[in-house]
């Protein structure tokens, strides 16, 4: 039980609850709360020294944020 493991689990749980039930229920709030659980998973991978998976997850999560932002912008654009 190293500190990264405990911290990662706490962030994963907190981020999941916050992203599942965001308080003002907007797309933006849910997207930002998803980032918390992503950092929790990152710390969890760090506690097992999975460097390559960690690096790939960082890149892919930033790309998926980009895709979500594009979809949200197109949806909320004035038609």
């Amino acid at each position: 039980m190293n500190p990264e493991f405990i911290l990662g689990l706490v962030l994963l749980l907190g981020g999941t609850i916050a992203a599942a039930f965001p308080v003002p229920k907007t797309y933006l709030n849910r997207l930002i709360n998803l980032e918390i659980s992503a950092w929790g998973l990152l710390l969890l991978m760090l506690s097992y020294n999975e460097a390559l998976a960690l690096l790939t997850f960082g890149g892919v999560s930033a790309l998926s944020v980009y895709i979500f932002v594009r979809v949200i912008q197109k949806k909320e654009a004035p038609a």
Binding site: M1, F5, L9, L12, L13, T16, I17, A19, A20, F21, K25, Y27, R30, L31, L34, S37, A38, G40, L41, L44, M45, Y48, E50, L52, A53, L55, T56, F57, G58, G59, V60, A62, L63, S64, Y66, I67, F68, R70, V71, I72, Q73, K74, K75, A77, A79
Partner: protein
């Protein structure tokens, strides 16, 4: 009984359960898309808890499938709801448009990605290119990208044949396949980045 693995597994399954519950109660399609990403995070945590090289080997394909699925689902959503041709605003941040900072950061990311090679390097270098294309208003032709895509297919097939017929040169084949997938992912990701200002 309650060692590290069990505690982690219980927490990860609790996360997956919460995600699926929220998915059941959700009505809006875009919210559902966001929740799918949440469920993916929880299930990757279950795999990461194995904690050996096996988990690393299982997480990488999971991430590949996740990003491909997300791209496809977002395109389907946009087409279905008829939002395909809505205009999108560009990035209007002073630091991004008027300074060399984006160029330097994307140069570091691209060089580091090319050193890494494989899907990881492709993702990171592609992210750098997406960021560069987003901060500079870029519009050009993409013949070079199509050619890179074709070259990567050829490299891949050649590496496969080397694996099949001349296994003693496996290292060369491995490097060929890694460079092929690097080119492929970079080409795809920069296409995604250039799609940004496409409609109107």
């Amino acid at each position: 009984m309650w060692n590290e693995y069990s505690i982690g597994l219980a927490a990860a399954f609790a996360c997956a359960l919460i995600g699926f519950l929220a998915l059941v109660w959700e009505r809006d399609d875009l919210h559902k898309l966001l929740l799918i990403d949440l469920v993916e995070t929880a299930s990757l945590a279950v795999i990461a808890l194995i904690g050996t090289d096996l988990s690393e080997a299982l997480i990488l394909p999971g991430l590949v499938v996740g990003i491909a699925e997300l791209l496809a689902l977002s395109q389907i959503y946009l087409t279905k709801e008829g939002y395909q041709h809505h205009p999108v605003t560009r990035l209007n941040i002073e630091v991004m448009m008027r300074s060399p900072a984006p160029v330097i950061i994307s140069a570091i990311l691209v060089v580091y990605g090319i050193i890494l090679s494989g899907f990881t390097g492709g993702g990171i270098a592609g992210l750098g290119i997406v960021f560069l294309l987003m901060s500079r208003s870029f519009s050009g032709d993409f013949h070079a990208l199509e050619m890179a895509s074709g070259i990567s297919w050829a490299l891949w097939v050649a590496a496969f044949f080397v694996f099949m017929f001349a296994p003693q040169w496996w290292y060369m084949a491995l490097m060929g396949a890694a460079i092929g997938i690097l080119l492929k992912v970079i080409a795809k990701m920069s296409l995604v980045g250039a799609m940004w200002g496409e409609p109107e």
